[in-house]
């Protein structure tokens, strides 16, 4: 799915979180979104996930204007997205397996398909042997990988990650980026927000830099 931001602004009381941002992301492309904290990365992703609406401008996903998506249709829209959250957003009252299975259950998959897909996703992130564990028993890096497995298990059209390597060591960070690249290679649009310039500049993908809510570089194709 392609993503297009057309002169998007998001204004909070006195501050512009995003100002006149225009970005084109091709279907199947992988891009990095970078900038200092407060530059507007999170606002950009929140608008894309419909957790927030722009003050002005238009966002198009797969040719459809997000403006047209009413409150009741938001859940359906979000099922196209796989999101890796900075703080993982795992549920600690259930096993790793059940956490990863959640998007499939929501989408109405049968229990057999669910088991097959969850195991495949956990295998991909190297946690197949931990499916019965509680997420609280896992390390930070492992929890992040559970979050990635959950984000990709329902084969989303767009994969969004917000600081996925936030507090991981360089080796783990590199492995996680490789995972994202693997999804990009099978045609998923991947948008990764990261301030780890050293890491992302080694990977050969477009880098969109935000500064003070404006595009500093990398906006066009």
């Amino acid at each position: 799915m392609s993503v297009r931001f057309d002169r998007v602004s998001r204004r909070f009381q006195q501050r512009d979180a995003l100002r006149d941002v225009s970005v084109d992301i091709e279907s199947g492309e992988m891009v990095f979104l970078t900038g200092h904290s407060g530059a507007g990365k999170s606002t950009f992703l929140r608008l894309l996930m419909l957790l927030d609406r722009p003050s002005s401008g238009q966002i198009w996903v797969d040719g459809q204007s997000l403006e047209k998506i009413k409150r009741r249709a938001i859940a359906g829209y979000r099922r196209n997205l796989g999101v890796v959250f900075q703080d993982h957003q795992l549920l600690f009252d259930r096993s790793v397996f059940d956490n990863v299975a959640l998007p499939l259950q929501i989408a109405g998959f049968s229990i057999r398909d669910t088991q097959r897909r969850v195991r495949a996703a956990l295998d991909k992130v190297g946690l197949l042997d931990r499916e019965r564990a509680n997420p609280s028993a896992l390390s930070g890096g492992e929890q992040q990988r559970v979050g990635i497995a959950r984000a990709v298990v329902a084969r989303p059209k767009i994969l969004i990650a917000d600081e996925p390597t936030g507090n991981l060591d360089p080796q783990l960070s590199g492995e996680i980026m490789k995972l994202f690249e693997a999804f990009h290679r099978v045609g998923v649009t991947v948008v990764v927000a990261s301030h780890d310039l050293a890491l992302i500049s080694r990977l050969r993908h477009r880098i969109i830099t935000l500064d003070g809510g404006r595009i500093a570089s990398g906006g066009g194709l």
Binding site: A75, F85, L102, P103, I106, S110
Partner: protein, 299 residues
Amino acid sequence: MWHHRQSATDSLFRLLAAPLSSFMTCLAMGVALALPAVLLLALSNLSQVVDRFDDPARLSVLLSEDADVETAQRLRDRLAQRDELATVVWIDRDIALATFANDMGLSTLLSQLEINPLPHTLALTPRYELSAAALEVLAADIAREPEVAEVVLDSRWLARFTAMLAVAERVIWLIGGLTGLGAILVLGNIVHLGVEARRAEIVVVKLIGGSPQYARRPFLYTGLWLGVAGGLLSVVMVSAVTLWLDPVLRPLTALYDSDWAFRPLSLVQAAQLMLIGGAIGLVSAWQSSSRHLDQIEPR
């Protein structure tokens, strides 16, 4: 489908994990259902007594002392021509006395009477359901016949009683409506607490595209379980009340020489109570969870 199964079992286990508070909620629910149920049961039993009077509207025409057999038969034939009357039965004073004496076991005493104190009587049944006012008019009209001493409207008390039962039924439905509303509020509050306790889960579900129906499902099952269990408790309560009243009702009906017996809750009625409980549970869970789930938005 497996989310239904999972929601159903999961919400059941959550309720069983807090047995005391779940039981209290069911108890409140049970009382709310049992109160109107007991009253309605009593009412239906009373109506059943009334229904045993096959022809509730009846007129007894007592002839004057000096009216003889021919007079009585003439009046019977005259009245039989009236459109309003279905049957006109002449009860001979001598036969009436004999029957009375026999029934009461007073044959010896009454056989010593010089004269028969009973007059000839005509028992009238109206052809169709006349209104109370029309019956009064008919009774007054017949009372004007010269041979007639008195017209007794047997059905007047019955009409009053039936009218009172109708009022009582309305009042019971009102009570039922109020206790049902109370039950909905109590259950809604429990569901609200459940939503609050699972806030983190709801946020994640919304973040990854769970529909409102999906988020609501476990809470609907919570309401359904509590409602059905409340209905079951109300069945137990109603049956207990019936059993408790039975020993005092039995000698009372025996006194009236009646084969009438208090009808306890039937299986169908018990099932209806549980169904109503389940429906109340679903309704209150629906309104409460919809309202409170709407207020939870991911940041």
